[in-house]
Amino acid sequence: MAFRDYIRERFFPHIWCPGCGHGIVLNALLHTVEDLGLERTSLCMVSGIGCSSRIAGYVDFHTMHTMHGRALACATGLKLAKPSLNVFVPMGDGDATAIGGNHFIHACRRNIDLTAIVLNNRIYGMTGGQFSPLSGRGVLATTAPYRSIDEPFDIVKLALGAGATFVARTTAFHVLEIRSLLKKAMLHKGISVLEILVQCPTYFGRKNGQGGAVEMMELYRDNTAPLDSKKLEDNPSLIPRGIFRADAKPEYCEEYARVVARAKE
């Protein structure tokens, strides 16, 4: 299967702004499924609402574009009804941790075999630049004209605390790293949460003095460091990247199959 066979070409060019990081993630995702040689009919994508959720329209998988925040809940039903499907769930930061926060922590706890990708641009892009639970204090947004006073979540810590069995982080600058982490996340049995910091030059960068796409990506390069690296050791204030947890634990669909076996005894 060639790379291009995994996309619905007639819908390009995509709707994202010039410089948006979402296309980079889409590209990495397509390379990952191509590398793994996965059949398209085994692939499924369930998304919510927001810029990130539009990824679902561009991949030639079974695609379900659902409601704001509800992607993981819909995906849970889909996966349980047909466990053989490989289910990707791309979400934005507001989608995953604000309106969908409850579904997010419970999907982590349940350890159901879904690949959750949080595209964290720290802003509500589709509605025009409001602050999200990932924006953090001091951020300027259309709903925080005097700067945000809201403390942010740390998605990695949230996922770890909620019991996710695979948790990783990277950025839109680290293109090859997205591919390798996505591949590991996909192959992980159980819930995998991959946070990808993606730039929103239109609503975040411009308003918060981070410049355009290139400058924002340079920040990802300079302000992050791999876990266990000398760079991180020397400067612990940097944002760590890499795999924070990869544990083998009973997966929900498999456990449910055991429930069925017990019930039928």
Partner: protein, 403 residues
């Protein structure tokens, strides 16, 4: 329940069994359990829910029964997630259901709208309790009639069925699944605390005795363009499951025949008319009802759910005294069977609508009949089942015979 014509009641009523003669497949169960058995008869294989009074027994029974039959039971993190999981499972080919009450029904409205828009077949049970808000969790009400019709935002249409006995709950549940599969629409089973919790006899028919409608699959072969949202001439949409040979898009946005978002005014208009017409234009086919003593009735009581039991009690008692009272019991509430109501009540002097709300169906009846000023509401919203005496008192007053 086959066809649109209500069958006349058997002589002596449903409970007229001879002493000593009990069918071997008879059970003594709650309405909520009858709903579970009806759902299993209809082929239910996926349930997602969240505990809430007075519908919880449905989840409890299914937690036991579904795994034994290889089906999926999942208790989700909230009411919203339950309805979402049902949507996801149905796309993967499951016959899926959720059950809730009161506040839970409010929370499910978003995803019910999604199911309407994406034409996902599914069944939502609402065992009504007193509202608004937390209301009266363990007491009866019928206040969700309009919410079941208009609870989700935007123009849409939906099918809402109800029942007044344990046996009827079993049968109407199967009917709900059949309608849901036939028209690819969410169907709401709007029960109430009284019928959900009371126990009476249920006779489960042999498999095959009641027809079960299965999903209509597309005959389009792999590699040939499949249009998931191109209705056939009969309004039905042949489906292809997620995981099957056809990959397509499902979205809550207005979409084209491929399922991809569109803002094309013509396509938007066509879709909204399709969603509404596929149900509203079939109101006569979707009407389910029961009628008692209507032929020469001077006064007709129109009722549904638990209230219809009180109405029947009164009608039978007063018939015994020679009064020409009839009962029209609706089992389909939405699409509202206006033509049926108009026709059946055409020769009545007055119509009494007995329901446990502020007149949600009474308002529909007034719109349907030729003499709306002869439609009277008999209601009760204090958590108690409206009684035959309550109905009788209003009738006496209207008839000019004092309270």
């Amino acid at each position: 329940m086959s066809g649109a014509v209500a069958s006349p009641p058997p002589a002596g009523g449903a409970g007229g069994a001879k002493r000593g003669a009990v069918a071997p497949d008879a059970h003594f169960v709650q309405g909520n359990e009858a709903c579970v058995r009806g759902a299993m008869y209809a082929g239910l294989n996926f349930f997602a829910g969240y505990p809430i009074t007075p519908s919880t027994e449905i989840a409890e029974h299914l937690a036991d029964i579904l795994p034994r039959n290889g089906g999926v039971f999942i208790q989700m993190e909230d009411e919203i997630a339950s309805m979402c999981a049902v949507c996801g499972a149905a796309l993967a080919g499951a016959k899926a259901m959720t059950a809730t009450s009161g506040p839970g029904f409010s929370l499910k409205q978003e995803a019910i709208g999604y199911a309407c828009m994406t034409e996902i077949p599914c069944v939502i049970v609402n065992v009504q309790r007193g509202g608004p808000s937390t209301g009266l969790p363990t007491k009866v009400a019928q206040g969700d009639v309009m919410q079941s019709r208009w609870g989700t935002h935007g123009d849409h249409s939906i099918v809402v069925l109800t029942a007044s006995s344990v046996q009827d709950i079993f049968e109407i549940t199967i009917e709900g699944f059949n309608i849901s599969e036939t028209y690819r629409t969410p169907v709401i089973l709007l029960f109430d605390e009284v019928v959900g919790h009371m126990r009476e006899k249920l006779v489960v028919p042999a498999p095959g005795e009641i027809a079960v409608v299965d999903r209509l699959y597309t005959e389009v072969k792999a590699g040939v363009n499949y249009h998931p949202y191109l209705p056939r001439e009969d309004g039905r949409l042949p489906v292809s499951d997620f995981g099957g040979v056809h990959r397509y898009n499902v979205t809550g946005l207005f979409h084209d025949i491929f399922g991809f978002p569109t803002e094309n005014a013509d396509q938007v208009s066509r879709l909204i008319y399709h969603l509404v017409d596929k149900i509203e234009n079939r109101a006569h086919l979707l009407a389910r009802w029961k009628e008692y003593h209507l032929d020469d009735a001077e006064h007709i009581i129109l009722s549904y759910g638990a209230s219809a039991r009180s109405a029947r009690h009164l009608a039978e008692t007063r018939r015994g005294k020679g009064d020409r009272i009839g009962l029209l019991e609706l089992q389909t509430l939405w699409p509202f069977p206006a033509a049926l109501v108009r026709e059946k009540t055409a020769h009545a002097k007055s119509v009494f609508v007995a329901e446990m709300n502020m007149g949600q169906i009474a308002a529909q009846v007034k719109q349907a009949v030729n003499k709306p000023d002869r439609v009277f509401l008999v209601n009760r919203m204090d958590g108690m089942l409206v009684t035959p005496t309550d109905i009788g008192a209003v009738m006496r007053t209207v008839e000019g015979r004092g309270f």
